[in-house]
């Protein structure tokens, strides 16, 4: 739209392709994506008195609760890893995931006044939710590093970290796409999201180690990409046994499937959202 003046001709027509992602358009709007992320962060830290402190406190306090109740009182096995480190390493990717998915669920409805007034690729909205969550993640990650140093953790293969993070981001984006589109069309989805996330958390090794799951159910358990992500984080930061290669591949494939379906569904929603929202 803002390309060289005289040559920019666009054709507005019913969508032809079922699955056509306009990469050049997304690239063209990259500045807007940055602005949306920037706005997200600015608002989050402007409206709270505690600001950045809150980002660190949330995982720290949850870690404290888990350490006291699951660890000290319930004697949950952690494979010899100090409880705070064990829980923080699991909570960090999970809180990122849950936060990003929650934000993405609401993002279309939240921006409905913009959507009905001006055009831009709607995909930028869930994308910005997923990206702005990464900043919080980065801050908490420094705390996690501090904990690892304090407890003199045996670091595992740190190379797993980027892969695990990429998987977490893709998974959050894939699920976020579905929920954002669903919530735009059916406004009661946002009430369901917290429950889904809660169940999902217990289906992921956040509060317990994944080796507690019986071996014959492990294949099913590892279909959950977040289980692989969290195990990957623990492997890197506490030196525990990581997920097998097959689990990585399976999780990747599942995220790819959810992501493709999500993109399709999101585009369908994109075409009608301005008419129904």
């Amino acid at each position: 739209m803002t390309q060289p003046r005289s040559t920019a001709v666009i054709c507005i027509a019913p969508r032809r392709l079922w699955f056509g992602l306009d990469w050049s358009e997304l690239w063209h709007y990259r500045e807007l994506l940055l602005f949306l992320v920037w706005r997200d962060l600015k608002l989050r830290y402007k409206q709270t008195v505690m600001g950045v402190t809150w980002v660190i406190l949330q995982p720290l306090l949850t870690t404290l609760v888990f350490t006291v109740f699951f660890g000290r009182l319930a004697h949950m096995p952690s494979g010899g890893v100090p409880y705070p480190l064990f829980y923080f390493a699991g909570l960090l990717p999970w809180l990122y995931f849950a936060g990003a998915v929650t934000a993405a669920t609401n993002v279309i409805v939240q921006h409905q006044h913009t959507i009905t007034k001006v055009y831009f690729p709607r995909l930028l909205l869930p994308l910005s939710s997923v990206i702005s969550g990464l900043v919080d993640f980065g801050v908490s990650f420094l705390v996690l590093l501090g904990l690892a140093i304090y407890y003199r953790a045996h670091l595992g293969s740190v190379a797993v970290l980027p892969a695990a993070l990429l998987l977490a981001v893709s998974c959050a984006f894939a699920v976020g796409l579905w929920l954002a589109a669903l919530n735009a069309l059916y406004r009661d989805v946002r009430y369901a999201t917290p429950f889904v996330l809660q169940f999902w958390m217990f289906a992921s090794p956040v509060a317990y180690p994944s080796w507690l799951v019986p071996a014959r159910w492990r294949w099913l358990y590892e279909l959950n990409p977040m289980a692989v992500v969290i195990d990957g984080f623990r492997q890197a930061l506490t030196g525990s046994a990581g997920p097998p290669v097959a689990a990585w591949a399976g999780a990747g494939a599942i995220v790819a499937i959810i992501l493709s379906g999500g993109l399709l569904y999101f585009q369908r929603m994109e075409d009608i959202v301005a008419d129904v929202i």
């Binding site: 739209m1 803002t2 003046r5 005289s6 920019a8 001709v9 666009i10 054709c11 507005i12 027509a13 019913p14 969508r15 500045e31 807007l32 602005f35 706005r39 600015k42 608002l43 402007k46 409206q47 006044h113 913009t114 959507i115 009905t116 007034k117 001006v118 055009y119 831009f120 669903l182 069309l185 059916y186 406004r187 009661d188 989805v189 369901a192 075409d271 301005a274 008419d275 129904v276 929202i277």
Partner: protein, 412 residues
């Protein structure tokens, strides 16, 4: 065809009729799907009501044209603008658009009360399609135009409503689009704000860029647009020179009751302008002759002709009772000569009645209405300021204090 900036071909948009509730719930949809699983795949099932907001609309707009879009409420004007600004897609047909599209309906888009004035300028500018450096280049002009300079670092929530609007307008006005869409419905702010919107439109048009202007105010359309589209029920009813299209629209918009079928007694049956290019549109200043044709079923020795001129709302703005004697039965023309008919542009109506010596006939509205299509002298843009459009001169002259006695009791 380098200078065509908008080319629409068979543009159609179909909507599902709005249900009672404003949004669907997943629960309802699931229940519906469980009850009638096949509806999920059927494009149109029972209970789904569709209507066409736009149907097969084709037109072209050239660079620098100021195009008016008129029509009743629900005729598809806003849908057309929404398609052109890419907020919604057409159901069928296509439209090519050359250049950046901006609209004054985007005012304040992306504004957030917690962010400062500076931050909002950037955010809104980028949302409206500017690059960051484009906003930066125009930043000083935007601030100056809006007049909120001292409050740039203040959160928007502490701005007055007027300041917010000014800032929003300043950002939108500096977008400098090749094609500007203006929907009058959204420019309902105060009069001053409307004037600014219109001023901006003129400025854009004079700069050789293209404007699409949706309005119900026919005087604004007449004043600003050279060409006009008339949408009626989603279809393009007319496309042509503004004077002709607006006159046709105004005639149809004025809802006149049909004359009664069988004439009884004496009756005025029609009217037309003498010496005019179009018999029912007044398009020249100066003396006017209006011919009223009547039918007398019997001779009238002493009678009265009553003529009334009404405005669009049916209020009588001029009334005359004229006595005559000795008219034979049969057709008759009454010629009304006026030195001026100083009316503001718009639709008016004639009503007539006749007294045949024994009783009055019913007062009837004559069809078609009178459309005044002269450029207005005063208040070029306002629609409902007045009825008369008198030529005038005004002058001011200071005088000594004692020339005007001051009465404190009436002027405190």
């Amino acid at each position: 065809m380098q200078d065509i900036v908008i080319q629409a071909e068979g543009l159609s948009k179909r909507y599902q009729r709005q249900r009672a509730s404003s949004y669907r719930t997943l629960r309802d949809s699931l229940a519906e799907t469980l009850r009638h699983p096949w509806h999920l795949f059927a494009r149109r099932g029972p209970g789904r009501e569709w209507f066409w907001a736009l149907r097969e609309v084709s037109f072209e707009v050239r660079a620098g044209e100021v195009l008016g879009v008129i029509g009743r409420n629900g005729a598809g004007k806003t849908t057309l603008l929404k398609i052109l600004s890419r907020i919604t897609r057409p159901t069928a047909g296509r439209v090519w658009v050359r250049g950046r599209v901006g609209s004054l309906l985007e005012i304040g888009t992306g504004f957030h009360p917690e962010l400062t004035g500076r931050e909002n300028i950037y955010l809104s500018g980028v949302l409206l399609g500017m690059k960051r450096r484009e906003v930066a280049a125009r930043f000083d002009r935007i601030v100056e135009f809006s007049g909120v300079g001292p409050f740039l670092e203040t959160p928007l929530k502490h701005f007055s409503a007027g300041m917010q609007t000014r800032l929003a307008f300043a950002v939108a006005a500096h977008l400098e689009p090749e094609i500007l869409l203006v929907d009058e419905v959204l420019a309902v702010g105060d009069l001053e704000f409307q004037q600014r919107c219109l001023g901006k439109m003129s400025e854009v048009a004079q700069g050789g860029r293209t404007v699409l202007f949706v309005s119900h105010h026919m005087n604004q359309i007449r004043h600003l647009c050279s060409r006009c589209l008339w949408l009626d029920n989603g279809q393009l009813r007319a496309d042509g020179a503004t004077q002709a299209v607006v006159a046709a629209y105004e005639s149809s918009a004025l809802n006149l009751t049909a004359p009664p079928a069988a004439p009884r007694g004496c009756e005025v049956v029609g009217w037309e302008l003498a010496d005019s290019r179009s018999p029912h549109t007044l398009d020249h200043a100066g003396p006017v002759i209006i011919r009223f044709s009547a039918w007398l079923t019997e001779p009238i020795a002493r009678g009265t002709l009553r003529l009334q001129l009404t405005d669009a709302l049916g209020r009588v703005i001029w009334h005359v009772d004229w006595r005559f004697t000795g008219l034979p039965a049969g057709p008759c023309i009454f010629s009304l000569k006026l030195a001026h008919l100083p009316l503001r542009p718009g639709p008016y109506g004639w009503r007539a009645a006749m007294f045949d010596g024994g009783r009055w006939s019913d007062t009837q509205s004559l069809t078609p209405p009178l459309v005044v299509a002269l450029p207005p002298i005063a208040f070029a843009l306002g629609e409902f300021h007045s009825v008369l459009d008198l030529p005038f001169e005004l002058e001011a002259c200071p005088v000594p204090a004692e020339a005007i006695p001051r009465d404190h009791s009436s002027c405190s």
